[in-house]
Symmetry: C2
Subunit: 178 residues, 2 copies
Amino acid sequence: MLAAAVEVIGESGTSGLSLRDLARRAGVSHAAPAYHFGDKEGLLTALASQGYELLADALEAARGAGGEILEVGLAYVRFAVDHPAHFKVMFQPDLYPDDDPTLAAARQRAAEALRAEVTALPGVDPQIARLAAWSIVHGFATLWLGGALRQAAGQDDATDLARPVIRLLFGHDSDRAT
Amino acid sequence: MLAAAVEVIGESGTSGLSLRDLARRAGVSHAAPAYHFGDKEGLLTALASQGYELLADALEAARGAGGEILEVGLAYVRFAVDHPAHFKVMFQPDLYPDDDPTLAAARQRAAEALRAEVTALPGVDPQIARLAAWSIVHGFATLWLGGALRQAAGQDDATDLARPVIRLLFGHDSDRAT
DNA sequence: CCTGAAACTTGTCATTGACAAGATGCCAGC
DNA sequence: GCTGGCATCTTGTCAATGACAAGTTTCAGG
């Protein structure tokens, strides 16, 4: 059912999502989704939680694979591109209550994965560095999903375009020319 | 009426927006909004267009005031914080059709204002520099509006926090320590 | 065989977006 | 002064939706 929700959101966005349509696709009655999630908010909360878990998985995997900060950043972008529906719901906090414990735990896990990887540059407040890293990958991902970048750049692969962008912030100077 | 829409979105988010509620607040009948905007999509299109105009104004003003790139970036963040409803609608493209001519013109104007300001760093593709600049300010603004940053940082003023973040990307090395 | 819980279904209600068909007011041109 | 036309709304209606209440099926454990 969450999978069906992801599909619908991918087609019509978060506003076009209807519990009854989900039920129709799943071949059940119109009240079945309400039983499982209680509420439309409940469904979106579950979807956001799942999204944070997937994101944490992706970030931890990139970190485990010997990845430096660049790789973790690219994993963030790749997550957004591969799971656009999850990403959109996760960062639209007026769709769900933010006091759900499951969601808070998943979010905490993802935040930790992101936080651990940013090694501070010399002379820079590590908190600022973390914020900058998060901002640039999140901004890039959001703009890409919004379609704002596809026309500006000839690129059709998000990560190819994201790589030099992230390098500009954290890359060694020798990388800047590439 | 657009002002009322802004107010409602500020309270309940884009999904809680109802044409009938708008009509109630404006003291008119439930079909009056439909006459002016034709459609819910129409209303959101108008709101997005207005948002892009306001953004272009803000960016051009920052640029005109002798602002370097840092000031323009801060103006972007300030716009998002001051006009959260507009900002949210603008960058949620599944809420409105993207082929509206008025909207396209306004968007073009804002894009131009942003594009013109980014002076390339030596040895860096200017397109990449623009993308990085846009990404970092957009990401910061989005995360701030989503409430993701307010807890992490003790700051309660967005621009104070955004300043060192933007400096990290574009500032001179002498600024980094501050 | 009985019980009770999980996973639904059916039925209903207020609200919403969209549309059609009038009202009402105002102003230009004759 | 009258008429036609236009912009701005109102009333009425419809299908779709989210939420909820109450019943139904299924099935494991005792």
